[in-house]
Amino acid sequence: MTGLVIDKLSMRFDLPNGGAVQALQDVSLDLKQGELLSVLGPSGCGKTTLLNIVAGFLAQTEGEVRLNGKTVHGPDAQRGMVFQQGALFEWMSVRDNVSFGPDMKGTPKAESRKTVDHLLNVVGLQDFKDKMVYELSGGMQQRVALARCLANDPDVILMDEPLGALDALTREKMQSLVLKLWKETGKTIILITHSVEEALLLGERLVVMAPRPGRIHKEYRLPFADLGVNADLREVKKHPDYNATREEILNMIWNMEEEIMGRSEETA
């Protein structure tokens, strides 16, 4: 039984003032091996909390996460993580960053070298192997982060707004790279993003979450990721369904934000 199962996940924690926050309520998702799910939602909808629970950095209060049939406890090398920025080790070269996972496992450098070199070629950094990471641009640093995650050969890759800090042009190039890596490696990917366009282009499946309590609001199955693997992303955006879906989701999120504002005004 391969795949990632998120089963009726709830998370609730107490506040110092006596109140409590229901960060997640009954979130269930079933991802088959090799699926790419993007998660959208207004701020405060619990999407990062969800990702942190799947990664094992936070504990749920109800429900469970199963990877390939086994319940998940705490972080491990099977669930790789790509962060927005600042998660690289600036005291290491690009190569040492990428080989961090194998090094920790005790794989001899000579053995991991081939994988590391290959991955650096794939992400287009073959000429920067011996640079220090702080010598690279933001886009290049995110390529290193992707390669570092892949070097560990995890079953699932969790991405927390990995392209959020990049400029628009770099971001578009990186989106193509993510699609390419997804197809080539066949990894299960959960991608959290603020950008509706990115969620549409990269998500084979797309989940819109709603806040207070954090829950799944609507789920889509989309054709764009498959199209984008072989075509220019700008061509994909011309697909007749693309604009319609985008408008629908934007409206949905917009209404949620309005509702939150209204509610907080009432309480005030």
């Binding site: 972080p75 491990d76 961090f100 920790m104």
Partner: protein, 445 residues
């Protein structure tokens, strides 16, 4: 309370007056700064314009990046310090015309006029010979002359004064009612001095002459020795030592204390800081102690350390250990706290164990902070060791200068201060260099 306020306002008024007295010198120095700036700007304009990016900025006042330390100003400033120092001490390193007027040295004479009880007046001459310190005095050759009042002579060392018993060789003396009424033709009494051109002549209450040779604008050697005499002292003390202790020995003892004290402080402080950064319990346990000890200046601990551990090496090393300990602990603690959680999360999800995270993430991430703390701690230790040696020590630079000050060997005091400054600066440079080499990722995260 009222008395204290009154006393303190008196002190404040005194202070204000002395600042007012120093004002002409401060203004003169500022004038020199501005003058050299205008001269240098003019000279550079003659040499041709620089056409770099900064030179094209029209807004430079307030643009921090456009303010670069002017190397020429630094050089001129240092040179000027030595020139002023040399000029006001009559240094051999400076050509004579640049010297400020020095004290009168050599032979000269002045006349005085006496008046008897009957109103009769007579003149005599005092032959003066002024010799510099450390030079054998040469009594002036003179003719005593004849008559009731004969000529006198006096030998004085520069910057000193001497009483002249002008009637010791005379037939009529003060006991006969004879007194001096004028010097060099100008009237003199117990309240008025006469400037004879190469010094001042005064009359004591008992009618004796007091001669003080002119001091000029230069500082006496025991106040401020010339740079060349400081240099000579440096050479002689490094060769022969001072009070049976060589300079190398003094310096080695001070450096030894600093290095051992700092090393022990770092050895205990860094693990302590890590424990405080990684465990709630340790943070809670040591926070009150560290936060209390940090603001206590190490100098304030000197008396206690002397009472407890005596004036030997142990006491000093305990003191420096305490000086370095808190700084290193706080540096290590903030280094650990400064680790971005995403780095730790990333390492965990790459399969690292706790020990591997400490070794490969937390320690390298905290090294820049630890280096900054080490630089501060070394500076504090160096200052503390000198102060501790001033209070009580057998050997050490601090001991050397305090011993020299008791014998008024101001050149050694000055030499010691300059050496302390140079070594402190050298330590800081060394730490910066080590930081650049060992933690090149500092500030790049």
């Amino acid at each position: 309370m009222g008395q204290i306020v009154q006393d303190l306002s008196g002190e404040l008024a005194q202070l204000f007056l002395s600042i007012l007295g120093a004002l002409p010198f401060i203004l003169g120095y500022v004038a020199l700064i501005l003058l050299s700036m205008f001269i240098w700007t003019f000279l550079r304009a003659q040499m041709g314009r620089v056409r770099d990016y900064t030179s094209l900025k029209t807004v430079t006042f307030g643009d921090e990046s456009a303010v670069i330390s002017d190397k020429a100003a630094s050089v001129i400033s240092i040179v000027l310090i030595f020139v002023i120092w040399g000029a006001f001490t009559g240094s051999n390193w400076l050509p004579g015309p640049l010297h400020a007027p020095g004290p009168f040295v050599g032979e000269d004479a002045f006349t005085y006029t006496i008046e008897g009880p009957n109103g009769a007046q007579a003149d005599a001459t005092v032959y003066v010979s002024v010799h510099p310190q450390g030079v054998a005095p040469v009594p002036p050759e003179f003719d005593e002359g004849t008559g009731p009042i004969r000529n006198d002579s006096v030998v004085v060392q520069a910057y000193r004064s001497k009483l002249i018993s002008w009637d010791a060789n005379d037939d009529v003396t003060r006991d006969d009612g004879v007194k001096i009424v004028a010097v060099d033709g100008r009237a003199i009494d117990a309240d008025t001095d006469v400037d004879v051109g190469f010094g001042r002549v005064a009359l004591t209450d008992k009618g004796t002459l007091n001669f003080e040779p002119g001091q000029g604008w230069q500082m006496e050697n025991i106040w401020l020795p010339a740079p060349d005499s400081v240099w000579r002292r440096l050479v002689s003390v490094s060769a022969d030592g001072y009070q049976n202790v060589t300079l190398a020995e003094h310096l080695s003892y001070s450096l030894f204390r600093v290095i051992v004290g700092f090393a022990l402080g770092a050895l205990v402080g860094i693990p302590l800081g890590y424990a405080m950064g990684l465990s709630n319990w340790f943070r809670g346990w040591f926070d009150p102690i560290v936060e209390f000890m940090r603001p206590v200046p190490p100098l304030a601990l000197i008396p206690l350390v002397i009472i407890w551990a005596g004036i030997g090496e142990q006491g000093k090393i305990i003191l420096l250990f305490l000086a370095a300990l808190w700084i290193m602990a706080i540096g290590a603690r903030s280094g650990v706290s400064g680790v971005k959680i995403t780095k730790v999360h990333a390492a965990y999800s790459l399969g690292a164990s706790k020990w591997q995270i400490l070794r490969h993430v937390i320690i390298p991430n905290s090294l820049p902070e630890i280096f900054t703390a080490a630089r501060v701690a070394m500076g504090v230790c160096w200052g503390t060791v000198v102060a501790a040696e001033l209070v009580a020590a057998e050997k050490g630079v601090g001991k050397m200068i305090v011993a020299a000050s008791k014998f008024q060997d101001t050149d050694i005091v000055l030499m010691g201060i300059i050496l302390i400054g140079i070594i402190g600066f050298g330590i800081d440079m060394l730490m910066r260099w080590a930081e650049r080499v060992l933690v090149p990722w500092k500030g790049k995260g």
